[in-house]
């Protein structure tokens, strides 16, 4: 019913929408997702031909290109076939007329109803959206935000439009109203189509069958809502979900590095993207159909950084790891959870080339890894369990961090020193001369581990394998290290293979969890799914045994006290 082709909207020099392609059929609800300033409101206004900017492209509604219509023709379509629920703000309703009156107005003006019929229908709509009966003659300034939102919804539905455009319809409502109104919206007018512009992923999940993510004036990912939200394929979409507090995902919140800017050329997201390559800076990617959804990325979406196929490592007859199929995507953290002896460390070391696999292969960016040369280690680094051992007590802090650079022969001495000091800053260690000259035994456990991490980062790897990095640290220090790792991921787009026995910690830092038992990966999936609905018994037992803070013991007296209160 609605087809948008290559829509471009600009206000003078500012390009707001840079080539949008969309399709919407009857009965569908499509969400346009974007943060503020991305142009979702402009998109809605353009469909109604209400923007003041320059509009180019095609907006075909029921076969007619709206952009070619005269103002008169468009006027007739507005609110009778296409209606909009504006963002709820002060003065979005005319302050001198009652709400009932304002809902009646479009019905009467479009000649669709008489005044009495209009009044009845307006009352009916208000009732449907839960607006209190005794307030029909209220004026806009007398309404609360939630009430005003209901009025806006009722008003939009006045003439039963075929296409309804909603701009942040639930944002000004409290949680309970959101569910209520969300249901009402879903139920109402199932034959019509709805376009929902919002930044709120909860709204998207409640209302929309399909969603399209807007960034930098372009759609960068689009598909079925449940697919995109559970397995986002564009780095921005993933970052958006990671930044959104919700009851489903379990990982700690992370932001997106940098700020929203409009780069002159190339992919609009490239300044903030963590898997950027040269072409991203020069050529704008097109929205293409790939594996069940649309995505605009030169690399086809989030790439798989490292994968293993049928990896088996034996020590004699003992199969330490067996038939391990794993993959780690760019910019994500995969937690490998298992007890001691499950093979986690062996797997890590096999990947690093410290053990030779007896079967199977390791692939780095789809290229088989046979010999691990300097190039490999530039991309994959490891942080070991015990920093006290992994750091040579002969090397000072500065020397330790510079060591990888020295080995790889990168840059001049001065440049290496500079780089080392910079990396120390990243892990939040002091950069003073005194500190640089210290030796590991003079540092605390936490400082040593940070140092180890700094050393691992100095080569600028894409993948960091962290083997129980907090095993030898105090709880509070552990928390800081975990946060540091999350921040590094946010800033550098680091991928991580996080090895731990503690599924509670894994839960807070990982996007995906793989559970290992006796050398095999028995379960693997998105963290939120594994935690909420584990399939394997072993996994369930791991979860049951994981650290929890609710007390399981309470004496009878205390229980009685609670009951009587």
């Amino acid at each position: 019913m609605l087809e948008i082709k290559d829509l471009r909207v600009s206000y003078g020099q500012d390009v707001i929408l840079n080539g949008i392609d969309l399709e919407l059929g009857s009965g569908e609800t499509l969400a346009i997702v974007g943060e503020s300033g991305t142009g979702k409101t402009t998109l809605g206004l353009s469909i109604m031909c209400l923007t003041e900017g320059t509009v180019r492209g095609v907006i075909r509604f029921n076969g007619k290109d709206l952009l070619t219509l005269s103002d008169n023709e468009m006027q007739q379509i507005r609110w009778s076939q296409i209606a909009m629920v504006f963002q709820n703000s002060n003065n979005v309703l005319n302050p001198v007329y009652t709400v009932l009156n304002q809902i009646m107005e479009p019905m009467v003006e479009h000649g669709l109803k008489s005044r009495d019929e209009a009044r009845d229908r307006a009352a009916e709509l208000l009732r449907y959206f839960g607006f209190p009966r005794d307030r029909f003659s209220a004026y806009p300034h007398q309404l609360s935000g939630g009430e005003q939102q209901r009025v806006l919804l009722a008003m939009a539905m006045a003439n039963n439009p075929e296409l309804l455009i909603l701009d942040e319809p639930l944002s000004s409502l409290d949680a309970a109203s959101r569910t209520e109104v969300g249901n009402l919206l879903r139920e109402t007018d199932k034959h019509g189509a709805k376009l929902v512009a919002t930044h709120d992923l909860d709204t998207v999940s409640k209302l929309a069958d399909r969603m399209a993510v807007l960034y930098g004036g372009k759609i960068i990912e689009a598909g079925l809502t449940r697919d995109v939200l559970s397995r986002p394929r564009h780095p921005y979409t993933r970052a958006l979900i990671r930044a959104y507090p919700n009851m489903t995902t379990v990982k700690d919140l992370q932001g997106i590095k940098g700020r929203m800017t409009r780069p002159v050329s190339g992919c609009p997201f490239h300044p903030r993207c963590t898997q950027v390559i040269d072409i991203c800076r020069t050529k704008t990617p097109h929205l293409v159909w790939s594996e069940g959804r649309h995505i605009a990325c030169h690399r086809g979406g989030i790439i798989t950084l490292l994968s293993t196929k049928n990896l088996t490592t034996s020590f004699g007859s003992l199969k330490a790891i067996e038939s391990v199929d794993l993959h780690i995507e760019a910019g994500e953290t995969l937690a490998l959870v298992g007890q001691t002896g499950s093979g986690k460390t062996t797997l890590a070391k096999t990947i690093m080339g410290l053990h030779q696999p007896t079967e199977g292969d390791v692939y780095l960016e789809d290229a088989k890894v046979d010999n691990r040369g300097k190039d490999f280690y530039k991309r994959v680094q490891m942080v070991f369990q015990n920093p006290g051992e992994s750091l040579s007590h002969r090397l000072s802090v500065l020397e330790a961090v510079m060591e990888p650079l020295d080995i790889q022969g990168i840059g001049t001495d001065e440049e290496r020193k500079e780089r080392a000091i910079q990396v120390l800053g990243e892990v939040e260690l002091p950069q003073t001369r005194d500190f640089l000259n210290k030796y590991p035994h003079q540092l605390s456990g936490g400082e040593m581990q940070r140092l180890a991490i700094a050393r691992a980062l100095v080569l600028d790897p894409a993948l960091l394998i962290a083997d129980e990095p907090t095993a030898f640290l105090d709880t509070s220090v552990q928390a800081k290290i975990l946060k540091l790792l999350l921040n590094l991921q946010e800033q550098r787009g680091l991928s991580m293979l996080y090895i731990t026995h503690d599924i509670a910690a894994a839960r807070k830092v990982s996007d995906r969890i793989a559970v290992m038992l006796d050398g095999r990966v028995i379960e693997e999936g998105p963290s939120s799914e594994i935690i909420a609905a584990p399939k394997q018994e072993y996994t369930k037992s791991l979860l049951a045994a994981a650290s929890a803070l609710h007390s399981t013991k309470s004496s009878g007296i205390e229980q009685q006290k609670l009951n009587s209160q």
Binding site: L50, R78, M84, V96, P106, Y139, H141
Partner: protein
């Protein structure tokens, strides 16, 4: 807007006028009675009347007692006697008042309505040639004092073209009645109303236009446009209705000046209203009349403002909130 604050202000205004009315004649050198009634009056008064008046106004007593007496007299509605017109002040004023009300009322209605409409149209087209022309034109018109406009109209249509009469509110001694009388009054009314309307047109226009400009930027105008409403509805029902409010308040304030508003025009056209009366009284030094008019002005100002305060909530629903 109706508040204690305003009430206090109005009371002060009223008291000020009363005090001024009271103080001025008594500050003059010489016989206070002469200052109150004027020299001509004094000649006509008998000694007994003079003694009576001295007693009534307590002129031989201390000042505060005089004020008390003055206040009392006023309260009784006795505004004094005009020796120039040979009639009680109150009746003289009341005799002239209807003409002023007719003149000012009519021109106020026209200038406000026309001003609002022009203001809406101008504001809607802000920046266009039409708007700029109207703006320049009306601002220039605003620069012409009402008496000058009156004189120009008088000379052009009255003297030169002879279409309209030159003076008065109706043709004297004509013995007309019914429709003919009404037409006669209208013919006499036309030029003065035209002069007043033109002189004050720009006020309503500018205010409406300015308000219109800010109103058009409000979110609800976009909402209204999205509703597919016609231009006319957008302009008047939505923008216009919201732009009217300041003008209506202003009009109310001008209503308070209804008595003096037409003073110059009445003079030019010798229109027998309160303004012309004031002028005549001024020339003749008929103080009781002047003071009577002054008091009338005070009262009408207060009443007008009071009415405006009462009616504002009906016009702007947001205001009743503040009650």
């Amino acid at each position: 807007m109706f508040s204690k604050r305003n009430l206090v202000a109005y009371t002060i205004a009223f008291l000020f006028i009363l005090v001024l009315n009271f103080a001025l004649p008594r500050m003059m050198p010489g016989d206070p009675l002469m200052a109150i009634y004027g020299d001509e009056a004094l000649i006509a008064m008998t000694p007994e009347l003079k003694a009576q008046l001295v007693e009534r106004f307590a002129l031989d007593k201390p000042l505060w007692q005089q004020f008390g007496a003055y206040f009392l007299t006023l309260f009784q509605g006795k505004l004094g006697y005009s020796y120039y017109y040979n009639a009680p002040v109150l009746s003289v004023i009341l005799g002239r008042l209807p003409w002023t009300l007719l003149l000012v009322g009519t021109s106020l209605v026209f200038s406000t309505m026309l001003g609002i409409i022009l203001g809406i149209e101008s504001g809607w087209r802000r920046g266009s040639r039409t708007d700029r022309a109207m703006l320049a034109g009306l601002m220039s018109l605003n620069g012409f004092p009402d008496f000058f406009l009156g004189m120009l109209l008088l000379i052009a249509f009255g003297v030169t073209l002879g279409i309209f009469p030159l003076a008065g509110a109706l043709t004297p001694y004509s013995g007309l009645s019914g429709l003919a009388l009404v037409l006669d009054i209208l013919r006499h009314l036309f030029l003065p109303v035209a002069a007043l309307t033109l002189a004050h047109l720009a006020n309503g226009y500018l205010l409406t236009r300015n308000t219109m400009i800010t109103v058009l930027k409000e979110p609800y105008m976009l909402t209204a446009k999205a509703k597919g409403l016609s231009q006319r509805v957008l302009k008047y029902r939505h923008a216009g209705r919201n732009s009217m409010l300041p003008v209506v308040t202003q009009t109310g304030i001008w209503m308070g000046r209804v008595v003096t508003g037409a003073l110059f025009v009445e003079l030019v056209f010798a229109y027998p209203g309160v303004g012309y009366l004031t002028y005549e009284a001024l020339l003749a030094r008929d103080y009781p009349i002047i003071q009577g008019v002054f008091l009338l002005v005070a009262i009408s100002v207060l009443v007008a403002n009071f009415l405006i305060d009462l009616s504002y909530p009906k016009l702007d629903p947001r205001v009743s909130y503040a009650y």
